[in-house]
Symmetry: C2
Subunit: 333 residues, 2 copies
DNA sequence: TTGTAAGCGTTATCAA
DNA sequence: TTGATAACGCTTACAA
């Protein structure tokens, strides 16, 4: 690979001059600039980013931390962050943390040694205090980590409430909930939204809530327990689509037909919900948008560090599919 | 961040000595070594990888190129490569190429500037000649790019043949195929495997093959065209699971019940096939294994560049699920 | 408008 | 067994 010295030699100027035309800094005579440009062309010269990074202390790399890219919610987020990174000329590093704080810290350590410039984090396990002491910008995505850490999320609580309202509108009269882990902020918010919508109903009992751990199998089992215990349930709000699909399977296993006997609505809007039978009604997040926005925000903070804490919340949107359907016993307009 | 100089000063030695204890090179007196170790501890010193990279011309970073991480086949591969990279102390860069040769080249260019050490590539569009001139190790994964480029794949042709044999064993008598893009090596191999199994059957016609482009929608339409044109079809081998799910949906749209009237088997073994109704029978690749193996191979080639071209082929395995079932009209033992 | 040279944080060569 | 120092390729004072 050609270096700046080779270019300088060929163009018969000093490396400083080459550097100047490279970066558009300082004055450089039109003619010499052309000479340098030609040399760069001839040698197919590309500046060495490592040398640049060493000098600047910055690498033009950002990372995305996700629990596990195999969870179908994360690929779209990853795609969004990567696209945005590329567009702004950053390299994209992907880290699977398995929600393990030690791994998260180990990654941060390792990446700091490479002068990583910033991190978009989907995590519920990283200590807020720890994050605050990381010396590069960090944006929380999808889950809130700490009050005064910048974040990009959706209106989970209100969206959850709307999901339940949708079931009511469809005529459901006993609506249960399969929840995500309480230590994950969005799971808690979604449960609160469910409670907002059902708590004053006289039929409501806390045993209408089951824990599904944001996992397929676990949600399938939760659905079965729920339907066993409460055969009167005719509506189910599931805290995310992955579990929603599990619930679909749970109902299927119990020969309860969806949506005829049981309506199911979930949350997220991942494509998985389009491939099941029946397809899954859901409160869709603008997944790509939030990922992309988080990356933008991060890069902005990297490039002009004066920014304070930024918090953005996007709205979810109902996507009606086959797993919910109007009940006959409720003929309101 | 503390530098090696700080450590040297604190330990009252030269930077050379610190470097020696850091890397376990050369002789260093036990006592001084301890002193240095203590200084490192006290300062919580971490060597600057950028400086190291500059000196060594290597970055301890590898990349994975995939067409699109949102395609459900790739996350597991990405996970495998990332895990392996981490385990060997490499940083993992993810690139979505959209099967666009220009993007692929642009990525390679950009990453070479960062002294990237090697690439695992899933691609059908990158020019083999181009790849051969890349000056770092490249391993092709899942798809073969060029005869003398190291690769990790599965026995697509034989696996496909077995898939069709399975349908036959289940009693299917008219077996069609939804194929992937012919320019993708594994798609072509799978089609050949299909042909191996059906070409001498007297019922076989080339119009039993439809193009599904490795996409859900497209496969759904292909299935509908196929079943419309050839209502006698009672078995369908689909070149990958994503399309298999599309085919399931196509049959559903036409009110053809699977597996009662039509058996469907696909290829890949992604989890998506476990969530559909009916669940999808498939020839499962050892996805994690091949990803992990490709990464290992890559790192091996990086660290001892004497290796020649290595080609490894893994075997696929039948996973029977609900979309195939024994036909009554065939009672062989 | 251009060049010289110091410095970014390492490693490795050579001498002591 | 240890220390000086050049080198990796770049950017940016500072000088000219």
């Amino acid at each position: 690979m050609a270096t700046i010295k080779d270019v300088a030699r060929l163009a018969e100027v000093s490396v400083a001059t080459v550097s100047r035309v490279l970066n558009g800094n300082g004055y450089v005579h039109k003619e010499t600039k052309d000479r340098v440009a030609k040399a760069i062309q001839q040698l197919n010269y590309r500046p060495n980013d490592v040398a640049r990074s060493l000098f600047k202390g910055r690498s033009k790399m950002i990372a995305l931390f996700v629990p596990d890219i195999m969870n179908p919610f994360f690929p779209e987020l990853a795609r969004a962050v990567e696209d945005t990174a590329k567009q702004k000329d950053y390299t994209f590093v992907l880290c699977n943390t398995d929600d393990d704080p030690e791994k998260e810290i180990a990654y941060i350590d390792a990446l700091r040694q490479k002068s990583l410039d910033g991190i978009v984090v989907v995590s519920s396990t990283m200590s807020g205090d720890y994050v605050k002491n990381v010396d590069i910008p960090v944006i929380a995505l999808d889950r809130i980590l700490h009050e005064d850490l910048s974040s990009v999320t959706v209106n989970n609580r209100e969206g959850a409430r709307q999901a339940v309202e949708h079931l009511k509108k469809q005529g459901c009269t006993r609506i249960a909930h399969i929840a995500g882990p309480e230590h994950i902020s969005n799971a808690k918010q979604r449960m609160n939204g469910y409670l907002d919508a059902v708590q004053q109903e006289d039929w409501f009992k806390f045993s209408y809530i089951e824990q599904g751990e944001y996992r397929f199998e676990s949600a399938k089992e939760a659905a079965q327990r729920l339907l066993e215990r409460h055969p009167e349930i005719d509506g189910l709000f599931v805290a995310n689509d992955l579990m929603g699909v599990g619930a679909l399977k749970g109902a299927e296993a119990m020969k309860i037909s969806v949506p005829e006997e049981l309506s199911i609505i979930a949350f997220d809007g991942i494509t998985l919900g389009e491939t099941t039978t029946p397809t899954l009604t859901t409160m869709a997040q603008p997944i790509y948008t939030i990922g992309s926005r988080a990356a933008e925000m991060l890069i902005q903070q990297i490039e002009q560090s004066d920014q304070g804490t930024q918090v953005e919340e996007f709205e979810v949107e109902l996507i009606e599919r086959e797993s919910t359907k109007r009940r006959h016993n409720n003929d309101e307009t």
